[in-house]
Structures are given as structure tokens and as C-alpha cells.
């Protein structure tokens, strides 16, 4: 009995040594205890798939085509005016139809809803570099980013909205494009928010309604 217990103990300790405990990090791939149907021969996004010659499960669009899409609503949510992404309209391209001139104003209905969306999207996509205030002092500026544009620059204030759209869609100089990250409608919402940011620095006392002026403090 003594030997049996000793051997059992040793085996136990050995096993523990090999398999370890819960809640410790490990490099070993998870064991699938009953692997029935856990991994089926179907496509998974961003995973390898031997069916295709380049081994990619996620396919890239065929050159010169675009994805089938649900149309975008032009106005506030619930509006019935619909636009498809392939149409040559200022709202899709930032240019006036048929020419290369930038569209002067945001072609969508600017509402409080759009501005709020723009604020959220700005904070996600632009704030790391351009900063919460748009002054080009985002967090990356302190950690190695040398050139970042100040969005309060008079040149950028004077830019038509279509040119800002173009900067987001195609990038400019050292800023790469955000076409894949930010949807067309979100790009316009960000522009609306940038205009609000710029306005906040340009405002004068005349912009404040008469009856509210007394509430202002320095």
C-alpha cells in the first residue's frame, strides 16, 4: 500500500507538472476535448483557406468592381432620398458631378444627429493624431509623430468641404487614407464636426444669443 500510494503521488505530481493549473498563460493551442463538428470545412473571414490559390479565405474585390451595397440615405435618418455608392455625385466623390471642382458644402442634411456621430467618429479615427481639439497635438505627437496638421490652420479653414472629403478618402502627403475605415456618410459627419471645432475658435461674442451673454464667465 505504501508503495502504491507513493507511486500514485508521484504520478499525480508528474501529471500536474506537465498539465499545470487553470488561469496560467500558455503557448499551447487549446485542446478540443470532443472535437465533433468544431471545425467544419467552411470559409472563415481572414483565415487561411486552401480552396483558393493564394490561400486567403477573405477575397479581395475584383479589379474595377465594387461590392453590392445598401443605398445611403441623404438626409437625417428616415429620409427617403437614396444614393448608391457608384453614382457620380458630390456626396460620393467630393467633386461636382462631371468636373474636378470640389463641392463647397456638405451635400448631406447637417443635423444634430450627424454632428454627434461625427464627434464619435472623429474621436475614434482622427483624435490620436490631430488631438481632441483639432490642433494637431494628439497623443502620437508626443511619441514620435513629427508632422501633424493643425486643423485650425487658415488654409484648412478655407478649404471647401469637398477637399476635406478628398483628404480623408485618398490621404495627402504623410497622412494615409481612411477610405477603408470610415464610411462615406461618416466622412461627411466628421467634416461637419471639424467645422464645428474650427468655429469654436473663431467665434466672437456676437455669436452668443443676447440673453445668454450674461452667463458667460472668463
Amino acid at each position: 500500500m505504501r508503495y502504491f500510494l507513493a507511486v500514485a503521488m508521484m504520478l499525480g505530481v508528474l501529471l500536474l507538472g506537465v498539465v499545470g493549473f487553470r488561469d496560467t498563460t500558455t503557448r499551447r493551442t487549446p485542446i478540443e476535448v470532443f472535437p465533433d463538428m468544431d471545425r467544419q470545412p467552411k470559409l472563415r473571414p481572414q483565415a487561411e483557406d486552401a480552396f483558393f490559390a493564394d490561400n486567403r479565405g477573405s477575397r479581395r474585390p475584383v479589379e474595377g468592381t465594387m461590392a453590392r451595397m445598401t443605398p445611403m440615405t441623404m438626409g437625417a435618418s428616415g429620409s427617403s432620398e437614396l444614393v448608391y455608392g457608384y453614382e457620380d455625385l458630390p456626396v460620393n466623390t467630393g467633386h461636382l458631378t462631371g468636373v474636378t471642382n470640389y463641392v463647397e458644402n456638405i451635400p448631406l442634411t447637417v443635423s444634430g444627429e450627424l454632428l454627434e456621430r461625427g464627434m464619435g467618429r472623429y474621436q475614434i479615427n482622427c483624435q490620436p493624431c490631430h488631438g481632441a481639439l483639432g490642433d494637431g497635438n494628439g497623443i502620437t505627437r508626443k511619441l514620435g509623430m513629427v508632422v501633424v496638421a493643425n486643423l485650425h490652420d487658415p488654409r484648412i479653414i478655407k478649404m471647401p468641404d469637398g477637399e476635406l472629403f478628398h483628404v480623408i478618402t485618398s490621404g495627402r502627403n504623410l497622412m494615409s487614407n481612411y477610405a477603408a475605415q470610415v464610411s462615406v456618410k461618416d466622412r461627411w459627419s466628421i467634416i461637419a464636426y471639424i467645422r464645428a471645432l474650427q468655429r469654436s475658435r473663431l467665434a466672437s461674442i456676437d455669436d452668443v444669443p443676447e440673453q445668454l451673454r450674461s452667463t458667460l464667465t472668463k
Binding site: T26, K42, Q46, I124, P128, L143, G144, Q181
Partner: protein, 222 residues
């Protein structure tokens, strides 16, 4: 007779039974402890091709999860960013650092970076990020404090119980939708006040957003 069965054999049945009980208990305890996702999955931390740190990017820099995982609100799948996303900053930050060589090469050639997927539900389970994220379920409930991890590891078991525990009572976990990517967010620093606010607001969210308690097998096994 004592020649055939020496004296020590008298104790043999007892010993066999004791041994069997010991073996069975160890076996059951072993299965209970080890044959569960709490052991098989939790803590999985593969070696990634680039030493990318969420603690630096999401924690220290405060970059929102959706800057990189852009599809998490629109799709069932939360995408891993392309190398171009890294190069947006790394064309200026650490532009010649050897740790980023793989990223630069991927951005130049279009060959994907071979990231190792950590979280993976079995293929017979239907999961959807957008359904959760847009209903005020934070990343932290399912992925742990990613913003403090240098290397991401599997923090939660993702067993069926894990999913159902929340589906039975979502009110205990819901938070305002604009706070889902803020993993350290709390209702209040005082745990008692936080629990109280969670209780009040959680049940308010459930009624306001008509959140269903999804326990039907067909919700996840379709």
C-alpha cells in the same frame, strides 16, 4: 490453506477498494478540473509574428478599439487590422524599427501578417459582435482587460455556461453604448454605488432597448 492464501491477502480486498476509490476520485477530479474550457482555453497566448502590444496602443496611447477593429459594430466578425492601418502611424513613428519589419513588408507587398487567432468559437455556434456591442455589452465582459495586456490571451472560458450566464440576466452587465470600448469604465468608484447604478440602469436599458433574454438553443445553434 495458508499456503495458497498467505496472511497478507486478507487485506487485499480493502486495499483494492481503497485504491479504486482513490483512482476514481482522482479521475473525476481531473476531468472536472481539466476537461473544461476554463482550463483548455483560458490563458491561451500564442506567439504573434509582431510584438504588438495592446497595453501600449489601447492603454497608453488611448487609441479606441474601433480605430483598428473597425467592423466590430457592423459585422459578426471583428476584423484584425491590415498592415496599412499600422503604417498610418508607423510611417513616422519607429519607421526603421526591426520589430516592425514584418509590418512594413506586409504593407509593401500586400501579403497578410500571419497573426494567430486566439478567440474562436466552435463552428456550430453562431456568434455576433454587432448584436452585443450595439446593445451595450463591453469588450471587457468577453475579452478581459485587453488594454492592459502586452500580448492578448484568452481571458474568459467561452463555454456555453459563460454565454448563458449573461443571457439569463443581461441587466447585470449592460452599460451606456458609448462606453463599450472604455474597458476601465465604471458607474462609480465606490463599489456599492456602482452596483446600485448598475441595477437601476441595467433594468432600465433592458426595458428601453427591449433586450431579450436569449436562451433558446436556436439563438446560438442555427
Amino acid at each position: 490453506m495458508s499456503d495458497i492464501f498467505p496472511k497478507w491477502t486478507n487485506q487485499l480486498p480493502v486495499k483494492i477498494i481503497a485504491g479504486a476509490i482513490l483512482a476514481a476520485t482522482t479521475g473525476v477530479a481531473g476531468v472536472w478540473y481539466y476537461f473544461t474550457p476554463k482550463y483548455t482555453r483560458v490563458g491561451y497566448q500564442p506567439i504573434q509574428p509582431v510584438p504588438f502590444s495592446h497595453a501600449v496602443h489601447a492603454g497608453q496611447l488611448g487609441v479606441d478599439c474601433r480605430y483598428c477593429h473597425t467592423d466590430v459594430e457592423e459585422s459578426w466578425y471583428s476584423n484584425i487590422p491590415a498592415a496599412e492601418t499600422c503604417m498610418k502611424c508607423h510611417n513616422q513613428v519607429l519607421p526603421n524599427d526591426p520589430r516592425l519589419a514584418v509590418v512594413r513588408e506586409s504593407a509593401a507587398t500586400g501579403e497578410p501578417i500571419p497573426w494567430v487567432q486566439i478567440h474562436k468559437t466552435p463552428d456550430y455556434v453562431y456568434f455576433n459582435h454587432s448584436a452585443h456591442v450595439n446593445r451595450g455589452v463591453s469588450c471587457v465582459e468577453c475579452h478581459g482587460q485587453v488594454d492592459q495586456m502586452d500580448e492578448v490571451y484568452h481571458a474568459k472560458p467561452f463555454s456555453m455556461t459563460f454565454c448563458l450566464d449573461c443571457h439569463r440576466n443581461p441587466a447585470a452587465k449592460l452599460r451606456p453604448p458609448d462606453k463599450i470600448t472604455d474597458l476601465t469604465w465604471k458607474w462609480s468608484d465606490d463599489p456599492e454605488a456602482a452596483a446600485k447604478a448598475q441595477k437601476e440602469n441595467g433594468s432600465k436599458f433592458v426595458t428601453d432597448w427591449k433586450v431579450e433574454s436569449m436562451e433558446n438553443c436556436s439563438a446560438c445553434h442555427r
